[in-house]
């Protein structure tokens, strides 16, 4: 093959590579673009079919954000969601980290079967758990309280995160734990000083999983909570911004944007850690 043919081939390969990347970037970024442009578009502009939907045909407006913040209790809902989210994440880590570690280190078939059992609980559809849960919530007197959600959500996050963390803990060689024990730590000290820092990708994944579940969960939040001041974002936004057949698209997209952007930023900050964590787990 001549040198020019090789050069052409190389450029074609590079072009293909960038083309593919560009397609992925467009695919991932488009929802954010759509939320952003809808949030600041006048409703007339948004609904007129003659207008180019990808651009501002009228000047941008802050009206939708004003509706969101002033006319609804969105800020309150954000606070509620954060409270529930942080509590659920804390409970999840408190239970799933020791459980995952124990299952990873528990020798023999017993541990394996228990791990599978824990994973199976995650497969039970939430709708089946409704009736027992509402009985429990009622008998505890937690109806219409955010604490009902703090109690219910860990029932999905703990099994999944236990399973997830178990995989990460298994990837950490026992040797380094034993080395820490020889170097002067107790088993628990070795766990804190050596295992946890080497498992940060797994713990971060568990945190993001638990937090996003709280952000998006709808059915339980709708059922257990009745007063609007106790709503979370996922219930408050569709309840108040869809009135009959009128959709407040601008405000809804604004709410989505405000909730999803921080998560996206956190995820992007740690994305290399995630990838590293997953590949370490895959190879060894």
């Amino acid at each position: 093959m001549s040198t020019s043919a090789i050069t052409i081939k190389r450029w074609a390969a590079r072009g293909g590579h960038f083309g593919l990347l560009a397609a992925f970037v467009a695919f991932s970024a488009f929802p954010f673009y759509w939320m952003l442009i809808t949030t600041f578009k006048e409703t007339n502009d948004l609904l007129a079919t003659a207008n180019n939907p990808f651009l501002f045909n009228h000047p941008p407006t802050l009206e939708h954000l004003r509706v969101l913040v002033v006319d609804t209790q969105f800020v309150r809902w954000l606070g509620n969601t954060t409270l529930v989210g942080v509590s659920v994440v804390a409970i999840t880590l408190l239970l799933a980290v020791p459980a995952g570690y124990a299952l990873a280190r528990l020798a023999g078939r017993w541990g394996q079967q228990m791990a599978i059992g824990i994973f199976l609980t995650y497969l039970i559809p939430p709708t089946i758990l409704f009736i027992p849960f509402s009985r429990i919530i009622a008998s505890l007197g937690l109806q219409d309280s955010l604490w009902s959600l703090v109690l219910v959500y860990p029932s999905f996050t703990v099994p999944f995160c236990t399973w997830l963390l178990m995989g990460f803990f298994k990837a950490i060689p026992r040797d380094i734990e034993e080395a820490a024990m020889m170097d002067g730590y107790s088993r628990f000290g070795a766990f804190l000083k050596v295992v946890v820092p080497n498992c940060s990708a797994g713990i971060l994944t568990a945190v993001i999983f638990a937090f996003t579940l709280v952000l998006q969960e709808f059915v339980y939040a709708l059922t257990f909570i009745t007063s609007s001041s106790q709503y979370t974002v996922s219930v408050g936004v569709p309840t108040f911004l869809v009135r009959g057949d009128v959709y407040f698209w601008g405000s809804m997209m604004g709410a989505c944007l405000i909730v999803s952007v921080p998560i996206a930023i956190v995820f992007n900050l740690f994305v290399d850690r995630f990838v590293a964590g997953f590949t370490v787990g895959a190879i060894k």
């Binding site: 060689p173 040797d175 380094i176 034993e178 080395a179 820490a180 024990m181 020889m182 170097d183 002067g184 730590y185 107790s186 000290g189 000083k193 050596v194 820092p197 080497n198």
Partner: protein, 339 residues
Amino acid sequence: MATVETRALRKRFDGVAAVDGIDLPVREGEFLVLLGPSGCGKTTLLRMIAGLETPSSGDVLIDGRVVTPLPPRERNMAMVFQSYALYPHLTVADNIAFPLKAHGMRGAEAAERVQRAAAMFSIERLLKRKPRQLSGGERQRVALARAVVREPVVFLLDEPLSNLDAQLRSAARDELQQFQRRLGTTTIYVTHDQIEAMGLGDRIAVLDHGRIHHLGTPREIYADPADTFVATFIGSPPMNLVETDDIITGFRPEQFMPIEALPADEPVRRFTLDVGRVEYLGADRLVYGTLAPPLPPSRVIARLPAGPELPVSTGERHEFAVRERDLRHFDRASGRRVN
């Protein structure tokens, strides 16, 4: 510096004895090697001494004091693992300082000790790196530096050279011995490599099936093996064994020579050998053959110098002999040596 002793130490895993009643006295400042094939229980024994494994019965003593119930951190021993077990999230300097921090030492004194340990293994320039940026040999040095920094009373080394390539291994062996001699710290070293064991050990304990077959200096173990297992496990090629009646006669390949090479006035035992194959190894020749009748047809090996004297060729029948004083005798039923 300390003495270490195990008394009737046993460990069972699912009913199988990995370590089956071991009494091992380790002297102060000694370099003791635990040698055996894989699965012989040598690593389990080391881990029980370290406190990482709980014995099923028996005791571990340090300086005459029973430490069996104590966790590893209260035994003041340092261990180097086969995988080196460096902490991946810490720099080399923090790895070395880790045992100091665990014992509450910080600041200038800790920094100075880290410097001294790093200097001992010439790894000062690596202190800011992470373990994944190091080569195998460098990792091994970091692991050793981490072990010495706390000035423990005993070093435990679990096949620390097995992950190094052959060239690096002999240099590392040399270095390891030098630093142990300099510190004079009691050292227990596990390996399956007899060259390492012979080269490093003040004494060697040869293990198989959870028992010590022979505890002695490299010279004793090579020249006067306690039983046929030790005789065939040590030496490459191993000791020749010839079974006659209820006695097994053993002799080393290098002591098995053509009759003309032995002085006429020395008492010898003669063997007639049908030479099967001659292997040229540079400095030596290995002569593989079968003993001729009336002896049973045992396969034996002779190691001869490679020079032109003492010609031995394939297919011929040749008179060989061993000095009487080089013969060793073992009981056929038990395999133990008899005099």
